[in-house]
């Protein structure tokens, strides 16, 4: 392979039910920055059925060009048809870089593609940069050992260089209204042999709660809350603050709260304006998911808890006693402000 033949930064656009995932917008933003350093352009790769209406949206978030595979077989995500189509795109367009969101789709699709193309894939990146040593290699940085260490990885001899990137890590650009870019309609016929998994049903989860990644204020509970029923205290507090409740892995493992509330390396990465950590000791894998929050306040009985190392304000005390009083304070303050 002549790696010079491979040019351009490509972003796999994750669309589900005609909605582009937030992480795809974030990746377009990051790709723009990388493309500048590589002196190339950003191409969005859009799969689905009847998805041309999304092209404007992709242009406004930074795509310079769009490759669209509009095919009935790609209407609902399925591993092998998507992998087949992606491989065809890669073979045809020879991108230098392909980025995917580190989502339940991206983390399934990208490895299958990497195995088929025989190239490297770096998972769950939190930082991407371009080498300044003349190679213009993509430098992919990701946490390992549960967030205990960071590793920078390159893929020097194979193309494309592929990475999945965690949602919430990169910044999307401010959308440019009315942007329009060239769209390449690329026809791919999915062979029957690739359609060997049958979709019997699609069931959306009933979720009345806000996604913790979208929350501006998170009131987060850990093992120090003592019992699942004590999460009521946190819910009251979150309600008063206009935020939502999240938790550490310990509480999820103990079955106290739902998995989708988990912050951390194996949960979600969050960066709210306020992260209030209640009875969370702060295992490194937890800190990895929240230390980018603007303001962190931690309440914990144990003065030596690692959470205090990242907290802007640490309070040594029993969250079960402090938080209800704090909630009352917040309610009073809000009531005064409303007057």
């Amino acid at each position: 392979m002549d790696i010079q033949d491979y040019q351009g930064v490509y972003v796999f656009i994750q669309q589900v039910d005609g909605q582009v995932a937030g992480v795809s917008h974030e990746l377009l933003g990051k790709a723009k920055e990388l493309a500048q350093k590589m002196e190339t352009v950003v191409t969005a790769v859009l799969f689905g059925s009847g998805v041309s209406k999304l092209c404007g949206d992709l242009a406004s978030y930074g795509a310079d060009k769009i490759v669209m595979v509009d095919n009935k077989d790609l209407e609902i995500y399925s591993t092998k048809p998507y992998a087949y189509a992606m491989c065809k795109v890669i073979e045809h367009y020879k991108p230098a870089v392909v980025l995917y969101g580190a989502t339940a789709i991206g983390r399934d699709l990208a490895p299958r593609v990497a195995a088929r193309i025989r190239t490297g894939l770096t998972a769950d990146c939190t930082k991407l940069d371009v080498a300044e040593d003349g190679t213009k290699n993509l430098q992919m940085t990701r946490p390992a050992f549960g967030g205990n260490i960071m590793a920078t990885i390159i893929c020097p001899d194979y193309r494309p260089q592929m990475a999945t990137v965690r949602p919430g890590v990169m910044q999307k650009i401010k959308p440019v209204a009315g942007a329009s870019v060239p769209v390449d309609s690329f026809a791919v016929e999915i062979p029957e042999s690739e359609k060997d998994v049958q979709i019997l049903g699609v069931v959306k989860k009933e979720s009345h709660k806000m996604d913790i990644q979208d929350a501006k204020i998170l009131v987060s509970g850990g093992r120090g809350m003592g019992a699942p029923e004590n999460f009521k205290i946190l819910e009251d507090c979150a309600k008063a603050l206009g935020g939502t409740v999240s938790s550490s892995r310990a509480c999820v493992d103990a079955g106290w709260v739902e998995k989708d509330l988990q912050v951390g390396q194996t949960g979600k990465t969050v960066r709210p304006n306020l992260y209030l950590a209640c009875g969370i000791s702060g295992a490194i894998q937890h800190l990895a998911g929240m230390e980018e929050s603007d303001v962190i306040i931690a309440v914990n009985k144990d003065e030596s808890a690692p959470i205090f190392e990242v907290a802007d304000y640490g309070v040594v005390g029993d969250a079960l006693k402090v938080i209800p009083l704090f909630t009352e304070n917040v309610k009073k303050a809000m009531a005064e402000r409303a007057k």
Partner: protein, 261 residues
């Protein structure tokens, strides 16, 4: 039905600490465990064995000490164990690892292959789908539920906001989530049998039909160029000795200072 469960021995990353003086990883004394997602996969296989009968083999690629993880799997009830180990496999990234494991799996009978979604030391979630690609069989990732009927596997496949109910003819590879189940304990007698009556079969480079350019460090497209520990954020303010009301007042004051409320 032949089920092969791929497991990885990992350090319990919850117990990994950073040496505050040197900023390096303290790995000494950190216990090794079966990766949690893989253990859930093993439990799923054992439940299929209990409910409908199956031969459950476990396979691990790693250094010789990974044998302990396989013994644990045997003590939980697996029938057979294979350790894929050779210096030639060292330094493999996910591509080369999947390629090597797939080559080993080709030597075994399988209808259903179960791997964990991801390992807690790497968190890549790549090896499962990549094994399936190497074997040219379908994969279903992120399984919350696994059923096998009439030569097909039906999986409740998790996504962030939904799940898909997916069905594939065997052979198929499924990646398991730790939420799938609560793995059983070993039994004391199972442990003694695992060491005294069962055996861990060793698979080396010489046993596999693979090319040198596709295994180990040489076969790995990716290179780690640097590892580092994150520089800790500058410490904030820590207040001790406040009573609960004072603490609550302090927190409100800080929120006001930061214009959060």
């Amino acid at each position: 039905m032949n089920i092969v469960v791929c497991i990885k021995q990992v350090p319990n990353t919850n117990e990994v600490r950073i040496d505050p003086k040197t900023g390096t990883l303290i790995r000494e004394g950190v216990p090794s465990i079966i990766n949690p997602d893989d253990k859930a996969g093993l439990e799923a296989a054992l439940r299929l064995k209990d409910s409908q009968g199956a031969h459950v083999a476990v396979l691990s690629m790693g250094p010789p000490q990974a044998e302990a993880a396989l013994r644990e799997a045997l003590a939980m009830g697996a029938d057979e164990a294979y350790l894929v180990t050779d210096r030639a496999f060292g330094g493999a990234d996910t591509w080369a690892t999947a390629h090597t494991i797939a080559a080993a799996l080709k030597k075994l009978p399988y209808d259903l292959i179960i791997t964990g979604r991801q390992a807690i030391d790497g968190d890549t979630a790549q090896v499962g789908p990549q094994i399936a690609e190497n074997l040219n069989i379908p994969n279903i990732s992120y399984a919350e539920e696994i059923k096998v009927e009439d030569g097909s596997v039906t999986v409740k496949r998790q996504f962030e906001d939904r799940y898909h109910l997916l069905k594939a003819k065997l052979p198929c590879l499924v990646t398991a989530l730790s939420e799938l189940n609560t793995p059983r304990y070993m039994t004391p007698g199972g442990i003694f049998d695992a060491y005294r009556e069962k055996k861990v079969n060793i698979i080396t480079r010489a046993d596999l039909d693979v090319a040198d350019v596709d295994i180990g460090l040489k076969g790995s497209p990716t290179r780690v160029v640097q590892t580092f520990t994150k520089s800790p954020k500058a410490a904030g303010t820590l207040v001790t000795n406040l009573n609960p009301q004072e603490a609550a007042d302090y927190m409100l004051e800080k929120l006001r200072e930061k214009f959060i409320i």
